[in-house]
């Protein structure tokens, strides 16, 4: 019998894999994909609780998150391409014009 | 248990159908292009003297492709290079699971839907699955590790993402008119009559939607006039430059299966799917004996005429010097046997009462025939367009998608909504 606990643990594992990716990796593309993974993990828990409470509000919220992720992907990737054009690097550590 | 068996049978049936359409399409392409360019086309390959107007040529083709070496160049990313061809075709085959090919088969206490899955999301599921289709091409282009292939993959990715939007938006009008996204429900909604004489097909209520959908479907299947990802005059052969043998054949099979899927969607959404015009399911079942007699009688007459025509086909007698000289006679014998079988069936069933399942099956067969007829027409339409129109330039293609199709699709949705509201007001 699958319980909420199963889904929540899976969601937590996915989420913290994403956290680890954001903190550890220096490649902006990978950081970007880690953020997508985190959003996705949150969606999973929304849907799980929607199933538990038998109300579809969670589905609507998850839909909004997906729409947000799409907007974020479009803008983020455009910024990334511009950065690469101007600085020709995708390493987050190299992008510190404001620092020194 | 029985339900599982029926589901399995249906899955095997629709996959078999979509895969058997591939040789038919190749034959269409070969003979159709020959017809359009005023050539003869393939006419040599034969099995026991039977050439079937070049159809047997497909077998020779398959044998050639299987026998060829599957070359893996040394500079490619091996793992992706090998799996890429399989992705495209498997993904498209999944999408067939929601295509209905007849109305529910109803007799005694059975009610079997004639589609593998009655998923509530129907059309959206097809859109979702076909949006995965791009990965095969992108992977092939990237893993080939060569500039032209990469360009092909890039072009394909941009094109597919761009044209998915008009593809999805153009059928929103259909959803609004028929009030469902379930394909079977949409087809059922197309069985009524408009103004009392016109079938309520998608083409008559959504003509602009049909045009938009067709253009977008051509782009999604990477067919001419939108086949820039493999544009051989610009980038060698695009994403499949480095492929050979069966892997190369898989790309072609994937493309043809995608065409079959697009044709099935056009037929289902805009041309009434399995609806026989003016004959809704109840009427078909009620008149099943007559329908059966008409079908068998037509079969008798057609096979008789075909046999006589084959018998008279001897304009190059003695040209080949082998069994192919006798092809007309061989085919005539087959046709006469078919004619006799139809006639025997007609005589046997004359004046007999059909059981309930027999009536339902006859109606289903008639609807399936209508569906296949429409499907074949649109498959031919794809070939026809390919050999008639020149290829777009890449910037023209993007401009068409973003600046023409998408605004038109929005206008279509808006207009449909206004008309629906007005009709509603008018009635109440």
């Amino acid at each position: 019998m699958v319980t909420i606990h199963h889904y929540m643990i899976l969601s937590a594992i996915l989420f913290f894999t994403g956290v680890f990716g954001v903190l550890y990796r220096r490649n902006i593309l990978v950081i970007f994909m880690s953020i997508e993974l985190m959003l996705n993990a949150v969606n999973l828990s929304f849907v799980t609780f929607a199933r538990y409470t038998q109300s579809m509000d969670g589905h609507v919220i998850a839909f909004f998150v997906m729409a947000l992720a799409a907007a974020e992907a479009a803008v983020g990737l455009a910024i990334l391409v511009m950065l690469f054009r101007n600085r020709s690097t995708v390493q987050a550590d190299d992008l510190r014009l404001m620092r020194d | 248990m029985e339900l599982h068996l029926i589901g399995l049978g249906k899955a095997v049936f629709i996959w078999g159908l979509s895969l058997t359409m591939i040789p038919v399409l190749i034959w269409f392409e070969r003979k159709g292009s020959a017809f359009i360019q005023d050539r003869v086309g393939p006419n040599r390959a034969a099995v026991l003297g039977v050439r079937l107007g070049g159809f047997i040529h497909n077998i020779a083709d398959v044998v050639k492709l299987v026998m060829k070496e599957m070359l893996v160049p040394s500079h490619v990313n091996r793992w992706y290079f090998v799996i890429a061809p399989f992705l495209g075709i498997t993904v498209v085959l999944f999408a067939f699971s929601v295509i209905p090919w007849a109305d529910n088969l109803r007799f005694s206490d059975w009610n079997i839907p004639m589609q593998v899955s009655t998923l509530n999301g129907g059309v959206l599921f097809i859109l979702a699955i076909t949006s995965l289709n791009v990965y095969g091409i992108v992977l092939a282009g990237w893993s080939s590790n060569n500039k032209y292939s990469l360009l092909g993959g890039l072009r394909s990715a941009a094109q597919m993402v761009s044209y998915e939007i008009p593809l999805g938006l153009s059928i929103v009008g259909i959803f609004m008119v028929y009030g469902s996204v379930q394909l079977n429900e949409i087809v059922r909604g197309q069985g009524e009559l408009l103004f009392g004489f016109l079938p309520r097909w998608g083409i008559f209520v959504q003509p602009l939607g049909l045009i938009l959908f067709m253009v977008a479907a051509f782009a999604e299947t990477n067919r001419n006039p939108f086949d820039v990802p493999e544009g051989e005059s610009e980038i060698v052969a695009g994403y499949h430059t480095e492929y050979s043998g069966v892997r190369f054949a898989l790309f072609y099979m994937g493309e043809y299966v995608a065409i079959v899927l697009a044709s099935a969607m056009i037929a289902t959404l805009f041309f009434g799917g399995w609806q026989v015009p003016y004959f809704p399911t109840e009427k078909l079942v009620a008149h099943a004996p007559v329908v059966l007699k008409i079908l068998l009688g037509a079969g008798t007459v057609v096979s008789l005429v075909a046999g006589l025509l084959c018998l008279g086909y001897d304009k190059r007698l003695g040209h080949w010097g082998d069994l192919r000289d006798q092809e007309g006679k061989i085919l005539a014998v087959v046709a006469f046997v078919a004619c006799a079988a139809h006639l025997a069936g007609l005589v046997f069933l004359w004046g007999k009462e059909l059981p309930a399942w027999g009536l339902a099956t006859v109606a289903t067969a008639a609807q399936f025939g209508a569906f296949i007829g429409k499907l074949l027409f649109f498959c031919w339409f794809f070939i026809w367009v390919r050999w008639s129109l020149p290829r777009f330039r890449y910037d023209q293609l993007m401009r068409l998608g973003w600046k023409s199709l998408i605004p038109l699709a929005f206008a279509n949705i808006f207009f449909t909504g206004v008309v629906l509201v007005l009709i509603d007001r008018f009635r109440s």
């Binding site: 699958v2 913290f16 997508e36 199933r51 799409a70 455009a78 690097t89 | 998915e164």
Partner: protein, 164 residues
């Protein structure tokens, strides 16, 4: 039966996520992430969220990931450009431990939650009820999201275009 399917999908999702985080080449990572996203879509289907199952494949796997892969292929990074500066053993360890602690904390918080009830309304998660909710109760958020998408489109055009 349900449990077996769940474990298979969960294993695929976690594998995809871990591979995505650890591969150096982002293209490998992107394909691993697609695997993960599709497995989560399967989990949505198991949770009777049919609409979200379709959207997950259509939007995430079919659109967002294609966009990301398109960008990766467009940049076409060389091996040197992909080499990342070393994070440092201590910092790496701290990050790993922090993630693990967070994960364990999460798992502790959610211990002992009840099982999911077996029976569910057949219309649950279908397109019609979700759509009605979206355009009824959540009308304003829905409209705001559409404005946000419009702003994103305009912003991307502004960013990407050299001469306007």
């Amino acid at each position: 039966m349900e449990l077996i399917v769940f474990y298979i999908l969960a294993a695929l999702a976690v594998t995809g996520a871990v591979v995505m985080v650890t591969r150096r080449n982002p293209l490998n990572g992107a394909f691993a992430l697609i695997l993960s996203l599709v497995s989560v879509a399967g989990l949505f289907a198991m949770l009777h969220a049919e609409f979200l199952f379709i959207l997950q494949i259509l939007l995430y796997a079919g659109a967002i990931m294609v966009l990301i892969i398109f960008t990766i292929m467009l940049l076409n990074l060389s091996k040197e450009e992909l080499r990342e500066p070393p994070v440092g053993r201590i910092r790496g360890l701290i990050i790993l431990v922090a993630s693990l602690v967070g994960l364990l904390g999460f798992i502790r918080v959610f211990r002992g939650l009840p099982a999911l009830q077996a029976e569910v309304d057949p219309a649950f998660g279908n397109i019609e009820p979700v759509g009605e909710l979206m355009l009824g109760n959540y009308l304003y958020p829905f409209e705001i999201i559409s404005v946000l998408l419009l702003v994103a489109v305009v912003g991307v055009v502004l960013l990407a275009k050299k001469v306007i």
